[in-house]
Subunit: 245 residues, 2 copies
DNA sequence: GGGGAGAGATGCCGC
DNA sequence: GCGGCATTTCTCCCC
């Protein structure tokens, strides 16, 4: 494909807020929060309608290079060939593609106003505990959720049947030492702010690392093995059973 | 574009280890580590030669949905239209695209054996401190780097002019409470393993959050405001000045 | 494969 | 904008 017609077509597509995708052989240099260099190879470049730019190698999950929305992308043709220079003045970042060969180019005006809904998050987990406090223990009474403290916020906060204050920190995945430290800060802060010397700390997670378990024990905290909820899966099963009729 | 010729073309491209890209109007359901749903809109789907699959909306930096290498992708045509089902048995994940309309399709055999080099990382920062210990203070003598302990590893480890042991934890970005807790664990571990009661802890980072600063003070630790090195940028400037001649 | 930690992390929310 | 924190984090390294 001819460089100058490529340049024209991409520039027109960007002006029209289209999403541009092309495959090419190129090298990449990035300079900004860090510095990176990638020697020549075949890549797919996508420039979205909001000027987000991603560079993908033909393997791997993540983009090898990218520029966020807010960057400007310009094309230069000189003796050395075709170059794309992306600059983000605000973030003081820049990226340069030296393009050797173009494999394909496609641009299209894409319309998408939908936003993803996600379930099974840590917040869903604390919702579940608010709804079913017996998951922590009989007599546990949640008082508030995401209580803001100077050190952050607490997932679930309440008291047990003997009126001891209880802080529950939820993790939707295996909990490590960081989760224990987080719980420690919340408990320490609550003790100070309320002037009491006994606050129970409970880590709720589907599993713990051994280090986390030892730290919990050292600090006199407890844990509960609780799986995060999966509402969608439940819904899908219901739909499936409806479809059976 | 016709659904059945689309299906054939994509399946053939996947068999041939090509990278496949298509634009379509579709809805997406994901079930695995969490559950997600995205109603119909225009998206770009990329299937790489290693079977990585990413779904991009026409805006945003990150893919809205994805499946990692190891997943299988199959296409089904029925009364409801065209569906793509990706399943990853090992990770117990699945994704379903209900495709309403196809905007474009492109597949290409891409060759890329290059891997990115990155500079300005935390390791580069500890390298810099090893080379220029006076950045910490006059008389600081680094002894080793990335000293492994039971709780992880220490970035830089040495002693000051009065022969006190010093642990330096490097962060190449704003350091938060987690960095202080990390430093705390390293210092605690070193005190125990060497049977000494005084080890200096220093957090080296370009900036600190207020919480981190207060925690440092509480624990009697210090900090140094140090920027991570940017070798590439330096190199580029040299090249630029060479080009000036 | 699990565990631990960094990352150009990204993204969200709250102040 | 910063701060604090979750994330289908991703990635690497080491045991």
């Amino acid at each position: 494909m001819d460089f100058s017609s490529f340049k024209e077509q991409v520039e027109r597509a960007i002006r029209n807020n289209e999403t541009v995708i092309f495959g090419c052989a190129c090298s990449v240099v990035y300079s900004g929060r860090a510095e990176s260099f990638l020697e020549t190879g075949d890549r797919v470049i996508m420039i979205k309608s909001d000027n987000n730019l991603i560079v993908h190698q033909p393997h791997g999950t993540s983009p090898v290079n990218y520029m966020k929305a807010g960057a400007d992308h310009s094309f230069i043709i000189d003796d050395g060939g075709l170059h794309m220079e992306s600059t983000d003045e605000k973030r003081k970042e820049s990226m340069i593609l030296d393009i050797i060969d173009i494999h394909f180019l496609h641009s299209h005006p894409l319309q998408d106003g939908a936003s993803i809904t996600l379930q099974g998050s840590e917040k869903d987990m604390s919702d579940m505990i608010m709804d079913r406090p017996e998951l922590i223990e009989d007599g546990f009474t949640p008082l508030s959720r995401e209580e803001h403290t100077e050190h952050g916020f607490v997932d679930v906060f309440g008291h047990d049947k003997d009126n001891n204050l209880v802080i529950v920190e939820c993790k939707r995945f295996t909990a490590g030492p960081a989760a224990v430290e987080q719980l420690t800060r919340y408990v320490r802060k609550l003790k100070r702010s309320r002037g009491i010397d006994h606050v129970r700390g409970i880590l709720a997670a589907p599993s713990l690392t051994k280090t986390a378990e030892r730290l919990l024990e050292e600090k006199g905290f407890e844990h509960r093995l609780i799986d995060p909820p999966n509402f969608h899966r439940r819904q899908k099963r219901q739909q499936a059973s409806l479809a059976d009729f």
